[in-house]
Amino acid sequence: MMLEELKNSGLLELYVLKACTPEEELLVAEMLQKHPALLAELDQNQMALAQYAELFSVEPPADLEGKIKAKLQFKPAAKTVSLKPNEPNIAKNIGIYQWLLAASVVVIAGLSVALNFSVNKLNEVESSLLALQSEKILLSDKFDQASFKFNKQEAQWIKVQQLEYTQVALAGTANYPDAKLKVYWNKKSKETFVSIINMPKLAEGKQFQLWSLVNGKPINAGVFDAAFGTLFLSNIATMDAQLFAVTIENKGGSESPTLANMVVAGEVAL
């Protein structure tokens, strides 16, 4: 795992919240050893949580300290030695020193104003960056939930669709016995889509082309490349089709089907 990937994965935060799985914990420990810079990141996370926990502070009962001390052993106190600061020799040149001191105070004051200004700016930038990152996560969270719901409902959705749609199964020809594809269309809304279940690999410069046979005439119903997936068609000249077929044609499709390259075909049940 890369450094940035780890930072964005949420693992460092889970680590601090004590909710990593043992495998994740190992991974974080490993990354911490490899990248000491992560320690600062982790430290900030820990401090944030510690400060949050501190908000729940409660003064313990007065007798608790005594109860704890009774269970502990202490070392005898060492004697303390106090140090007196050395007196500086200030007898000579006091005027010059005073003047230099005043000058340096002015310089230092100026510098610290400038420094303070830059630090404030830096903090501002960092704060807004954090806010942005947090927003990004919020969005990905929402997306995550939406796709979760979508997946759950997808199976149901397809069932509903199948009731309203007429479906035609196209089976593989002798050359492509494993090929399979389904065409769905809604006679009311005139929506048509193709569910590609299994199609052969295409050679360079080739495409699949779907044909509908209407009154004995093949009509182009669109080209596609995918070997599996769902395809929505815009060409609706399929409403009165009696038969569907897919051929392999040169990229862009042909005006009439190359029958030798037919992959799948299926009749519409009446």
Partner: protein, 188 residues
């Protein structure tokens, strides 16, 4: 008892002396945070007092195993307290489920006992409560204060694991933002 401001390095230095006065400083500075944390987890004053005692004994006796490379001493202490408290509620839940009680019910019962937990810094807490979303608060509560695993949360809240992860990240980032902790390290 007033909390005095003491740097990590100073605290480590005096704790290494093993003197009684060092314990006084330690206790004065950290007892409310540790007791509050434990109380928030076990939701019972008597049990919280017991576990606070165990935590300080463990912190004091095991201080020789602490090293700066493990992170801040404050975090190290909070972890000791948090782990003891979580171990306690977990074994309590096990005892209860052995009595044919559903885990969910026992968690619910523990929640019901938690009415006495009134935070000292109530104003700060209220302000922060406004900053964190409900989802973020729930994630922190379940993970840090109740010791739930990711999959337990995913199941209980009926959200995918990926969402549990992003919410955890979001919650910590929000806390960092609220407490003004930037990404460069330092006290912020």
């Amino acid at each position: 008892m007033k909390r005095q401001i003491i740097s990590e390095q100073e605290l480590i230095k005096i704790l290494r002396t093993g003197e009684e006065s060092a314990f006084d400083v330690l206790y004065r500075n950290y007892a409310p945070a540790i007791f509050g944390l434990i109380l928030n987890i076990v939701k019972n004053r008597e049990q919280a007092e017991e576990i606070t005692q165990d935590s300080f004994v463990k912190i004091w006796n095991n201080f020789s195993t602490y090293s700066e490379s493990k992170g801040r001493v404050y975090t190290w202490m909070l972890n000791i307290a948090r782990n003891l408290a979580i171990d306690f509620i977990r074994s309590k839940q096990e005892r209860m489920s052995q009595k044919n009680q559903d885990l969910e019910i026992s968690v619910y019962q523990i929640d019901q006992q938690g009415q006495s937990n009134i935070p000292v810094d109530e104003i700060g807490l209220k302000n922060l409560v406004g900053e964190l979303s409900v989802d973020q608060k729930v994630i922190i509560e379940k993970m840090y204060f109740q010791g739930y695993s990711q999959s337990e949360i995913s199941e209980e809240l009926e959200i995918p694991l990926g969402t549990v992860k992003t919410r955890a990240r979001q919650a910590i980032m929000k806390l960092r933002f609220v407490f003004g902790l930037n990404s460069k390290g330092g006290e912020g």
